[in-house]
Symmetry: D2
Subunit: 407 residues, 4 copies
C-alpha cells in the first residue's frame, strides 16, 4: 500500500482517536479529515470540533453530523424486522452502527478527495472487520488505516507519552487505565475488558450505565402500547414518532424499568471468545413487541422460514457483511414478510422484564371462528384432521414397516 | 378401518376421558385398557385407578405408571440440548410429552394384545397429530381412535347427558364449562381457550397456576449454581440430582420467583393460530443456564450450526415428528455438539427474570490470554487481522469493481 | 360444502376430462365452464372446443387460451433462477404448470360468476394438492371439486360404461388401459404408472416421447451460445427470442441430442414414493447454462446462500405452495441475486449430455489478475493468506487445546 | 514464530517439493522428514525415496505410505454419503485429500519429534488453508511452513536457478513452464492455470488425462450393477470389493466411457474466482448411483433435510474445515440417514453419461401397493387427501381472507 495522502478519520474527540489523529499526521504526513457522528452515544459533539481544531484540522475538514434518524431508520429497524439475535441473545448494537460510519467515511472521502479512511478499532476485535469490510465494499480502491494494528503505542504508558509529546490534552480520568471499555449508540451500550474479563465473576454494578438495576426499578408495572407499520414501530400509546424519537422513548422506558441487560460470552469473528455486558433497553422492548405483532399478522410459513434464516442474517451483521449480497438477499426476503406486520402490541414493563400481554391488528390472521372450543359454525371440519394425519403418517408407517421387515 | 377389539386409552381419570372410556365400550363394544401416567402434572393417580375400576375395567387392564424420570431424561433433556423454541418463544412443554405417552400406549397394546389406542385430544389441535404420528411411527398397523373427531357429543350439555346416562361420576365443578382448558406436566402448564380466546385481552391473573406473580415474588434476588454434564443439568448448588428431581427443584425456584410465564399466539400445525398461556418455570431457567454453559464450552462453528438447525428441530417436535428420521438426524448432530458442554452456571432469579451472571468450566474455550486488552504475550498477532480482513474483503471488492464498471 | 352452481373445469378435451364434464352436469346439475390451455403440451386445442360444444357447453363458457409465454416468463424462468431440483434431480416440470392453471381457473370463475373449480387429478398424486392449494390461496371461498376422489367410476370398465351411456366419443386407443400415463407441457413430459411401476426394471424405449435416444443422436457434438439477462435466457447464438420461443428452441436442440431424460423415484407430498420418467430437454440445457453464467457473475456469498435455500424452494413448488409467503420470500431473495447474471454461455450438446465449455460477461467477477499463477502485479498479497489462515484456525486451535487439556 | 528445528514435509518427489526440501534445509537449517503418500495419484513412490536420499534425508526420516484404502474409506465415502457438490457441481476431489495428508504429517511429527510441518501449496489457493486448518486442528502447537508464501523464488527462472545451485535434478520437461498445473488422487484429477485461465475459452483436449473423450468412448452402452451397504458402494456386478478397489474399478469404467468431466469456475475461499477442469470418473458414477439407491431406501424427511445441509457440508470441506465440530455434527446427521441405504443400483454408462435405470433393495420404502393406479386394496384411502389438502390450505385461506379484507 502506498502512503495515504488524505485520510478521513472516524473521530470521537476522545483521547484515543486524538492520538490517532496526531499519529496519522506525523507518521504519514497526511492531511486529516475528521468525521464525528451523533449516533445517540450521549456525548456532545462540539468539544470534538474544538479538539480537532486544536489539533490543526482545518474547519472545512471537520465533519460533525447527527445521523440518528438514518441510523435507526436504515440500519436498526431493518435489522429488528429479522428479530436478529447473535448466538441466541445479542442484539447486535455495536455491529449495526459500524456500516453506517464506514458509509459516511467513504462518502466524505469522495467529497474531499481523500484516498484513505482510518478507524480506532483494535486488532483483536470485530469492529476492525466491520469498518473495513463495509469500506472496501463501498469503495474497493480505498486505503484503510488501522493504527492499532500498525503502531508501537501498545501500552497505556506509551500512549500517554505520545499524547504529552504532542500536546494532546489529557482528561484526568484518562491518565490511568479505564476499568473497562465502552461503546455506545442509540441502540445500546456495551462494556468489556479488564474487570469484566473473567466470565465466572459477576459484572460489578458500576458497569451498568444505561439502565437502572431491576431491584431499583419501580415496584409497579407500567404498560405501553406500541404501534407497528410494516414491521417497524411508529407510535407509543397512540403518539406517532420518528424512528430515532421512538427508539429514544423506548430507551427511556427500558432504562427506568431496568430492561435489556445482557451478560454474554460470544464467539468473535476473529476467532476467540469474549465477554461483554450489553444494555439495550429500547431494543429489548422492540424485540418482544415485534414478535408480538408478528404473532398475529404473519403466517406460519413465513415465520418459520424467517426464523431459520435469522441466525445466518445475524451472523452476517456481526461479522461485518452488512454490505454483502447475502445480507441483501436475506433482507429482501425478510422485508417482504413484513408487508402486513401492522397493528398494536401492549407490553408490560416491570423490574427488568418486558412481556407482551395483548396484541391486535386489522391485518390479523388470528381467527377466533377457527380456533374456538365452541361448536363449529362450519369454518373447520374436524374430520379433515383425520385425513391430514393419515397422509402425514404415511411415510412414517412405510418406514416402520420397512424397519420391521429388515430386522 | 375395521372395528377395534381392544383399545388402550390414554386415561387421566377426569370426566372427559371417563366419557371416552364408556363411549368406547358402548360404541365399539370393545375391551378397554387404561393407561394413566404420572408426567408430573401434579395430580394423584390412585383416583384414576378407582374410577377405571368403577367403569368396569379389569385390574389387569389398568396401567398406572410414574414416568417422570424417563420423561425428563429421554425427552425433555434432549430437547433442551437444542435450545428449542417454537416460533422464537415457546418451550414445547405440551409437544414433548405426547410421544412418550404414545410410546407407552403402543407398548401396552403389544403387551395386552390390543389392536387400537385412543386419546382424548380434539380435532382442532396439535395433540391429535402428535399422539397419532408417534403411534403410527411405532406401530404402523395400530388403529387410532380419536373420539372427539368421531362422536356427536359436541356440546357440554350432550357430554353431561351421556355421563349421567352412563353413571359416570361428575365432579361439581365439571358440570359447567371450564373458563379455559389446561394441560400440565413436569415441564409446563398450558392454558388456552374460552376467556383466553381474544389475544388483545390480557390473561386474567387466575389463569396462572404454576408461578407466583412477579409482583408477589421475593424482593431480594436469589442466586443458584447449576452444574452441567454433556449438555444436561446434573446439580444445583453442588448437590447432584436425577433428571426429574432437578427439574422439580428448578420448577420450585421458578415458581417462587415468578419465572417462565409466556403469553403467545402461535401457528398450529393444523393451520389456524391459537393463543396459549404457558408457565415453564424450571424450563425457562434451564434454557438460560444451558445457553450460559454453552457460551464458554461450545465453539462458534458448532453453535451457529445448531442455531440454524434449531427452528427446524423445534418445528419437528411441535408438529409431532419426534419419531421421524429428520428429528433423529438433527438430534445426532445436536448431541455430538454437547460432548464438552460441562461446567457450572450461576444465575440470578428475581421477579420473573433469570439471568446468567457467571459461568466456569474445565472445558472452557474462553482464553483470557487471547482476548485480553493487555499487551500481547504472543498468543495472538494483531497483524494477522490485516490479512484476514483483506481476504474476507476480496470478494466484496471484486463485486464493487464490477458494479462500478457496468453502471 | 353446499352444491356448486357453476363450475370451471380444467378441460383437456380428452376422454377423462370429458367424462368429468358430463359427471359434473349429471351429479351436481351445475353449469360447466371449460378452460383449455395451451401450455405447450403439443396438442391442438380446437378439438377441445368442438368436444365441449358437443357435450353441451355454451360457446361463451368455453375458454381456450395460449398461455405459453406467461407460463415460461412468470413461472418457468423464475424457477430456473433458483436452479431448482427436487430431491437433487427433478426439474419440477409438472409442478410448475399447476399454479398457472389454477390461477386462470380462479380468474375465469370470477369473470363468469362460477362458485367452484374442478380438476382431473387423482387422489393419490401431488397434482390435486397443487391445483387446490393454488386455488384456495387465490380465492379462499372457492369450492374445489376433485371427481376422482368423489365418484365411483374407479375402474376403466366403469369409466367406459359411463362414457358410452353419456354419448361421450371414445377414441379407439382409449378403450383399453394406457400402458402408462403422461403429462406434458412446454417444459417437460412425464410418464408414470403401469409398465413403469417396478423401479427395478428399466423403462422401455417407447416410453420416451420427447427426446431421441442418446444412441440415435448425432455423432458430432453441436455447440450453441445462450445469452442471459438478469438470470433469464434471452438469445441463442445471438438471436433474441421471447421466453416461450427460446424454450421451444432449446427443446428442439435437446430433443435432437437426447438431452434431459431422467428416471427417478421420488417422495410424493401425499406420503408414498413413486417412479417417474421425465424428459426435460430444454430445461436441462437451461440448468447447465444458468449455472455456467452464474459461475462468473455471482458472488460466492450469494451463490452459497442460494444453494442452501434451493431445496426448500424446490420443495415448496413440488408441494404446491407456489402462492405462499415462504415461496415469495425465497423468490425475492433469489431474484435479487440475479441482477448481474447477464452474459453468454457456450455449451456443448452431445449424445444426452450438455456441458458448459465457455462463459463470458461484462458483469464477470472473474479476475485473471487475481487468480493468475504469474508473478503478482500487486492485486493480491500472498502474505495476507497467512493472517487469514491464522484467524480461521484460532477457534480450531482453542478446541484442540481444550480437548488435550480435558482428556 | 521461533525457527523450526525439525520439519515434516509433504513431499511428492517432484521438482517443486524438492526445492522446498532444500530451501528448508538452507533457510532454516532444520532437519527434514519427508512424507510421500500414495493417494492413487498414479505415480510410483520409490523415485521419491531415492530423491529424498539424494537430497540428504536420512532413511529413517523418509516416510512412504500407501494410504489409498484409508483415503477412500474414511474420507471419500463419508463425503459421498452426503452427495456433496460444491457450488452445485464440484465433487471436491482435491479438497478431500488434504485433511488426510495433514493428519499423517501431524502423526509423523509426533513420532519423530518434529515441531513443524511444511507443504507446497501456494498463497493464492485453497490448499494452503486446507493443509493448515487440518494441521492446527490436530495439533494447535505445530508450526506450519508454507514456503510459497515466504520465499523469494517467485519466478520459474529463480526456481530453476535455485535447483541448479543446489544440485537438485531437473527433469527435462520441468525446465519450462507447464501449460497448466495438475493435482491428482484416486478420486480425481484437477487441472488449472495458464492455458485454462480464460474461462471463455474451451479447454484444449490435451488437458484431459483421466478420461477418454466422450466422442471416442464406445458406441455401445455398458450396464453395471453397484451394490450398496449403509450408503457405501461395496460391490460391482455382485463382486465384493474394498473401498479403494471399488473406486479404482469405477474409475476404469468412467475413464472408458468418458464420464466425469467438469469445466467449472468456482469461488475460492481466499476470495477470487478460479477456473478448473476436473475429471472424476468413478466419483461421478458413485454420485448417480448413490442418489439412485437413496431414492428407494431413504425417507423424504431425511432426504430433504440432507439436501438442505449439503451445501453447508460441501462448503466446510472445500474451505478446509474437515476437522471442525460443524463438519462432524453434519456427518453425524448424514451417517445416521444411511442406516438403510443398502441395495443395488443398475446404471447405464454411455458417452460421458451415467444414468440410473433400475434400483432394488430389501430396505426399499417404495410400495407398489400404495402408488399403483390400480383400484385400491385398502392401503390408501383417496378421501384422506381431501382432509390433508383442507388443513394444508387453511393458512393460505386465512392469508387470502386477510389480504382481501385490508385491501
Amino acid at each position: 500500500m502506498s502512503a495515504p495522502k488524505k485520510v478521513v478519520l472516524a473521530y470521537s474527540g476522545g483521547l484515543d482517536t486524538s492520538i490517532i489523529l496526531k499519529w496519522l499526521q506525523t507518521e504519514y504526513g497526511c492531511e486529516v479529515v475528521t468525521f464525528t457522528a451523533d449516533l445517540g452515544q450521549g456525548e456532545e459533539l462540539e468539544p470534538a470540533r474544538q479538539k480537532a481544531e486544536l489539533l490543526g484540522i482545518k474547519p472545512e475538514n471537520i465533519y460533525i453530523e447527527d445521523v440518528r434518524e438514518e441510523f435507526v431508520r436504515d440500519f436498526v429497524f431493518p435489522m429488528f424486522r429479522a428479530n436478529a439475535q447473535y448466538e441466541g441473545l445479542y442484539l447486535l448494537g455495536t455491529s449495526i452502527a459500524r456500516p453506517l460510519i464506514s458509509k459516511r467515511l467513504i462518502e466524505i472521502a469522495e467529497e474531499t478527495g481523500a484516498d484513505a479512511v482510518a478507524h480506532g478499532a483494535t486488532g483483536k476485535g470485530n469492529d476492525q472487520v466491520r469498518f473495513e469490510l463495509a469500506a472496501y465494499a463501498l469503495n474497493p480502491d480505498i486505503k484503510v488505516i488501522a493504527p492499532w494494528r500498525e503502531w508501537d503505542l501498545t501500552s497505556r504508558t506509551r500512549l500517554i507519552d505520545f499524547a504529552e509529546q504532542n500536546q494532546i490534552p489529557i482528561a484526568k480520568d484518562k491518565r490511568g487505565e479505564a476499568p473497562f471499555s465502552v461503546d455506545a449508540n442509540l441502540l445500546h451500550t456495551s462494556s468489556e475488558g479488564k474487570v469484566l474479563e473473567d466470565p465466572a465473576v459477576q459484572a460489578p454494578d458500576y458497569v451498568f450505565q444505561r439502565t437502572v438495576h431491576p431491584e431499583d426499578a419501580p415496584d409497579t408495572p407500567e404498560y405501553i402500547e406500541i404501534g407497528y407499520e410494516k414491521g417497524d414501530p411508529v407510535s407509543i400509546n397512540g403518539e406517532a414518532m420518528s424512528p430515532a424519537t421512538i427508539l429514544t422513548a423506548l430507551n427511556e422506558y427500558g432504562r427506568k424499568h431496568g430492561i435489556g441487560r445482557l451478560d454474554l460470552v460470544e464467539g468473535r469473528f476473529v476467532g476467540m471468545k469474549s465477554r461483554g455486558i450489553y444494555e439495550t433497553p429500547g431494543g429489548t422492548i422492540m424485540l418482544e413487541a415485534h414478535r408480538g405483532i408478528e404473532s398475529i399478522t404473519m403466517d406460519r410459513g413465513a415465520m418459520h422460514l424467517k426464523d431459520e434464516l435469522m441466525p445466518k442474517y445475524a451472523e452476517a451483521i456481526y461479522n461485518g457483511f452488512w454490505y454483502s449480497p447475502e445480507r441483501e438477499m436475506l433482507q429482501a426476503a425478510i422485508d417482504l414478510s413484513q408487508e402486513h406486520v401492522t397493528g398494536t402490541v401492549r407490553v408490560k414493563l416491570y423490574k427488568g422484564m418486558v412481556s407482551t400481554v395483548g396484541r391486535w391488528s386489522d391485518h390479523s390472521l388470528y381467527s377466533e371462528e377457527h380456533v374456538t372450543f365452541e361448536e363449529d359454525a362450519g369454518a373447520y371440519d374436524q374430520k379433515d384432521a383425520a385425513g391430514f394425519i393419515q397422509l402425514q403418517a404415511l411415510r412414517l408407517k412405510l418406514i416402520a414397516m420397512r424397519n420391521k421387515r429388515v430386522k
